[in-house]
Every structure is written in C-alpha cells, then in structure tokens.
C-alpha cells in the first residue's frame, strides 16, 4: 500500500508531479500568450496601423487600470474570496483624488488621498468578511452599492473637468517614455511587486495556503485574520490607485467612474487562470488575462467587427478560457493519480 521502499519503481518518480504542475502553469501562460500573439498578428495584418506607436500607446493606456485591478482581485480570489466592490471603490477614489487636485492639493498628497480611500474601502470589506463572517460575495456585493452611493452623495451631478486639474497631472496621465505610458509602467511595476510578494514572501504564500485549505491553515496556526485583512486592504488600495490613474488618464471624473467594472475584472482574473475557489493561480496570469481582454476590445473595432459583437466575443472567450483550464486541470490530476497510486 505504500509508495515507499517496498516498491521504489512505483514511487511518484522525482519531478513527475512538479513537471505536471509546471506544465499546467506554463501551459496557461503559454495559452494566453499564444492567444494574444494570434490576435495581434491577425489584427495587424488586417490593419497595420494597429501596431503603430500611437495605437500601442492607446492599448497600454487602456490596459493600465484593468491590469492594476486584476492584480488586486487576484490577491483576494486566492484566499477563496472575491471583491465585487472594486468598481465603486475606483469611482470613489477617482472622484476624491480629482476634487482634491482641483482644490489645489499637491499631487503627492492627492495620490495618498486616492490610495487611502481605496485602502479604507478594502478594510471595510475585510472587516465584514473576517469579523462579521459574511461570505465575501455577499459582503462586497453590499459594499458595491454602498460605496457607489457614497460617490453619488459626494459627487452629485458635479463633474471635475480636465481644465480643473493641474497640467502636470494630466501630462503625466497622457505622457509616455519610449511610447510606453507612465500609467502602464506604474501598473506593470505594481504587478511585479505583487507577484514577488505572492511568490517569495511568507505572507504571500499564506494567502495561497488559506485559499487551498482553510481548516489546515487553522491547524498550522496561520494568522488567518491578519492575512485576510491584508488581502482585502491590498485589493482596495490597488483599486484606489486605479482610481488615481483613471483620473489622470481621463481628466474628467464624474460619479459614474468605474461603474459596472467589477465583472470585467473578475472575468480578467478567471481568464488569467486564477481558480475562483482560491489556492491556485498567479498574478501574472491575471495580468495577461486583463491584457488579453483589453487587446480584444481594442482590436475588434480595428478589425471592423461590428462593435455590437464585441461583448459577445468577450463572453465566449471567458467560457473558452475556464473550460480549457478545467480540461488541463483534469488531465494533470489523472496523470498525478496514476503516478501516485501503488496499484499498477
């Protein structure tokens, strides 16, 4: 019955398991990259301007915010959670930042305002989920309404126009180095940071553990509460930062900023191969997922595909992505099972 000395030939021969795992991970990333490449090549062949500096810059602009929020969402989803309130959080932060700036607050301070607001929203979510023992879906569905309501209260019908914002801020929002927008650079850096946090730091690994087997996490004495709070606050803070970037990019901010964004973000994360039930997935995958969705929505008009088709295609793609993920997962599981078993 044992996989040990008695039958060395049948042991899960070194590497099998891990290579199988790597294969899945690599495959996911690979799949996404292939899809991306294919899409870009096709689009470019139809309309070369799609690869023009301007067009690429636009694409990265559009991707910046989504990537950022996808990173935050990943952190929460890994813990078996979800944050449906990111759209509202982004709206709140964007509006607060913009008003702060328009009333002459120095940019760095406004930046803190935005991120702080986001973090606060995240803390609220985390508290409701951890201390209130409210399922994340319910809690954040509730705060989705509440936060949006707060934005309406503060903003009302008013709108902050580009002309009210400091030039420097807007230039930063539309500026780029070597064709890469500052905004995207920021998102990319944050993404990298989160990736390192999740893969190379104990706190990060704990998040995977929590999502993978909460009961075991309790037995191992992992600080579940602190970790959950970290996850939600981080997610909120990134949504807050997203709000700042949003303000920088669009210049005009009104109460509807980020309305209905949450499901796209969840979609991006799912497409990126993060398991909706926690424990597995990488922030890089989520980033790629976000990028892919952005490229699609930018490419479809260029491909002269009727804009009314775009949403449908995105939906179909999500289904395809999770179905593929499942397929690969099953394959790997069967492989592992056969290797692990002692019964020839």
């Amino acid at each position: 019955m044992t996989t040990v000395a008695d039958a060395p030939d049948q042991t899960p021969s070194a590497g099998t398991g891990s290579t199988a795992l790597d294969l899945i991970l690599r495959f996911r990333a690979l799949g996404l990259l292939l899809a991306l490449a294919a899409l870009i090549v096709i689009t470019a062949s139809v309309n070369p301007r799609f690869l023009g500096a301007q067009s690429i810059r636009d694409l990265l602009f559009a991707a910046a915010v989504t990537v950022l929020l996808a990173a935050g969402m990943t952190v929460v989803v890994l813990t078996r959670g979800i944050d449906l309130s990111v759209g509202s959080t982004l709206g709140l932060s964007a509006y607060l930042t913009a008003t702060a700036l328009s009333s002459g607050t120095p940019v760095p301070l406004a930046l803190l305002v935005g991120i702080g607001a986001g973090a606060a929203c995240g803390a609220v979510n985390g508290a409701i989920v951890h201390f209130g023992k409210v399922p994340p879906l319910v809690a954040t569905l509730g705060t989705l309404y509440v936060f949006r309501g707060i934005v309406y209260f503060t903003a009302g019908g008013s709108r902050v126009n580009a002309s009210d914002l400091p030039r420097g801020f807007l230039d930063f929002g539309s500026g780029a180095v070597l064709g890469v927008p500052y905004l995207f650079i920021i998102s990319a850096l944050v993404l990298a940071a989160v990736a390192v946090f999740l893969s190379d730091y104990r706190a990060g690994r704990d998040l995977y553990a929590l999502g993978s087997n909460p009961e075991a996490a309790r037995q191992t004495g992992l600080p579940a509460g602190r970790r959950l709070m970290t996850a939600y606050v981080l997610c909120g803070a990134l949504a807050g930062l997203g709000g700042v970037l949003y303000a920088a990019r669009f210049g005009t901010v009104d109460a509807s900023a980020g309305y209905g964004m949450e499901l796209n973000i969840v979609a991006a994360v799912v497409v990126g191969g993060v398991a909706i039930f926690g424990g597995s997935g990488t922030v890089l995958g989520a980033g790629l997922g976000a990028l892919l969705l952005t490229v699609i929505s930018n490419a479809l008009p260029v491909l002269r595909i009727d804009q009314f088709w775009q949403q449908a295609i995105v939906g179909a793609l999500i289904l395809a992505a999770i179905a593929l993920d499942r397929l690969v997962g099953l394959r790997a599981a069967r492989a592992l099972r056969r290797k692990a078993s002692h019964v020839d």
């Binding site: 309309n47 301007r49 799609f50 023009g52 500096a53 301007q54 067009s55 636009d58 559009a62 309406y152 903003a155 009302g156 019908g157 008013s158 709108r159 126009n161 580009a162 002309s163 539309s174 669009f250 210049g251 005009t252 009104d254 109460a255 509807s256 929505s297 930018n298 008009p301 260029v302 002269r304 804009q307």
Partner: protein, 337 residues
C-alpha cells in the same frame, strides 16, 4: 422612423397637443403655486444640472414648488418608476428628457390622466404621450450648422465620421439622418464623405476609446462630428494628447466650460450648442403656460417666456428654443456653463 428609435411601424395618430383638452386663453396669467418637477435622463449629469438651474429659477419666480429628481442610470425602466411617483404626488407638470421614446408612454398616459402636464425637452417621446416638446433647436438647423462647421474646417472635402451618444437617443439619430440627407442633396458637400457612425453611449471612457477606434480604422479621416457634450469633450481630450492633434478637425455640440482648454490649445476650432439653462427656462415656462391654460399644445398658440421672449407652438406641439450658438476663440470666454 428613427424618431421612434428605429421602430418600423410607429403610430402618430393624434398629433400631440389636444390631450389636455379645453381651449387656450392667451391672455390668462401664469398661475402661482404650481408644483413642477424636472426628470432628466439621469441625475449626476452637468448638462441637466444647467437646465435644472434654469427651470428652478423660473419656477421660484412663479412662486411654485420645484423638484429635480431622477435615476442614477440613464435607463427607461428606472425613469418609469420616477414618473409613477411624480404622478402620484400629483405634480402639476413634469419636465422630462426621455431615455426611450416609447417605454415611458404608459406611465405618462397615467400621469396625464391624473391631470399632470407632461412637457418633454432635449429628448422627446412619441408625440401622443406628451403635451408639448421643447426642442433645443430645429433638428435640421443643428444638422446644417454641424455640417457647415465641418466643411469650413476640412475645406469641404474628405472623410468625416460621427461620434454619437447612446444608439437609441432620438435626437441624435434624427440629426444624423438630417446630415446624411443634406450630404446627399447639397452639391457644396459633394466631396464630404460620411464614413462611419460610432456610439460613445454618453460615457466619457467609451467615447474616448471609440475615438481611438475611429482614427485607426479611418487613416484618412479629416473631421469628427460629435453632437453630444460628453462625446466631443472625450474626443477633444484624446486628440489633444495624440499625434492627430490639429490633423483631424473636431466639431459638434459641447459646453464652453468643457471645451475651453481645447479651443485654447487649438485642438478644436469651433463648436456649437444652445444654452441648456435657457432650454430649462423655456421648458419651465411652457409647462407653466400649459398648466395655466395659456396654451393647450395646439399649433399656432403663442405665449411669452419671460426674458426669453415670445414663442409659438409648432405642429405636433413642438416649441423650439432657436438656432444653436457657435463658440470659438473669439467668443468662448463670454460664456460660463
């Protein structure tokens, strides 16, 4: 057809008006103490805030009670609930900018049956469902001046495209139709080609990326016409930050406050708009007039709208504010809305 948002068999049996019945008494005075409510496409929209300011001023002047209420999302179904509420509160008049030409009719009929005067402004419903419609401008006039400006800025030749609001917006579609007709018929515009119509849904972000799409799909695009305040602002911001600045002309309908900087930096030469505040005022006066029995909505009736002057009710119970104002570097600083 488009006037009914694309429906194929619209029925405009009774040409608006008469619904209130009774006969008009041109010499009557405006009643005081009227309760008038404005129901915009959605609250949180600066354009309607401006109109509301105008209407409120009028109502207070007439010693009436004024309310500004509406949904936060620009959808017909949520407007219905607000209409029902208002009709139960038995408001004397509703000033409505409709999200859908037909979806609201049932509730409007109920409201009017309860004696509430329904005056639409900015965006109309089926003529049979309201008493009067206060049109910002005569639709054709808008189309004409938009094309004029586009022609001037492109030298009368090249590809042009339209960045519209939501795909169902009655007024937008009417204007686009008029433009197409004019392009067909008018020899001066022979060299202008309308290559595309895209919809920004009056959302800043969507308008912004739709502009991107336009410029990529149509390399030779000469001008963009955006007959919506949200759209033109977003497009202008995109152009001002892109390599197309100054290459591609942009005109349309926008508010001076939003467009000021783009006039300044040369992204935009000239655009037009009526004064939404004045529109709100006129709507309020029209409603008050109807509620006071000064007019019934029948063609040819005349009433005085305070400082705005004298207005005549046209066919289908339409009252028109007047030709749009054009804004450019010379005059833009005279306006603040």
């Amino acid at each position: 057809a488009t006037a009914c948002g694309g429906t194929t068999q619209g029925d405009d049996d009774d040409g608006g008006g008469a619904a209130t019945g009774g006969t008009a008494d041109p010499d009557a005075d405006y009643q005081t103490g009227l309760s008038i409510a404005m129901l915009p496409k959605s609250v949180n929209n600066p354009y309607f805030d401006a109109s509301s300011a105008g209407a409120e001023a009028v109502v207070t002047e007439l010693e009436g009670t004024y309310e500004y209420t509406g949904p936060s999302d620009a959808s017909a179904s949520s407007q219905v609930s607000y209409i029902d509420t208002l009709s139960q509160q038995a408001s004397d008049a509703i000033l409505l900018s409709a999200n859908d030409p037909n979806a609201l009719c049932a509730s409007l009929d109920q409201a009017r049956a309860g004696g509430t005067i329904v005056v639409t402004f900015d965006s109309d419903v089926e003529a049979s469902c309201r008493d009067l419609f206060v049109s910002q401008v005569n639709g054709d006039e808008v189309a004409l001046s938009l094309l004029e400006m586009a022609a001037e800025q492109t030298g009368g030749a090249g590809e042009i495209a339209v960045l519209s609001a939501t795909a169902n917006a009655t007024n937008q579609n009417a204007w686009i139709e008029a433009m197409e007709a004019e392009l067909e018929s008018n020899p001066d515009y022979a060299d202008l080609e309308l290559v595309d119509v895209v919809y920004g849904d009056d959302e800043d972000e969507k308008s912004f990326s739709e502009t991107q799409g336009l410029l990529q799909t149509h390399p030779d695009l000469k001008a963009i016409i955006s007959p919506t305040t949200v759209g033109i602002a977003a497009a202008a911001r995109y152009l001002s930050g892109s390599e197309y600045q100054g290459e591609v002309a942009l005109t349309g309908l926008g508010t001076p406050n939003q467009m000021r900087e783009y006039i300044a930096d040369g992204t935009v030469t000239e655009f037009a708009l009526w004064d939404p505040t004045a529109l709100g005022e006129l709507a309020a006066y029209t409603a008050a007039a109807a509620a006071s029995g000064i007019i019934t909505g029948a063609e040819g009736e005349v009433f005085t709208a305070g400082d705005l002057g004298e207005y005549t009710v046209e066919a289908d119970g339409i009252v028109t504010l007047g030709p749009p104002t054009r804004f450019n570097a010379d005059n833009i600083d005279d306006f603040d809305f």
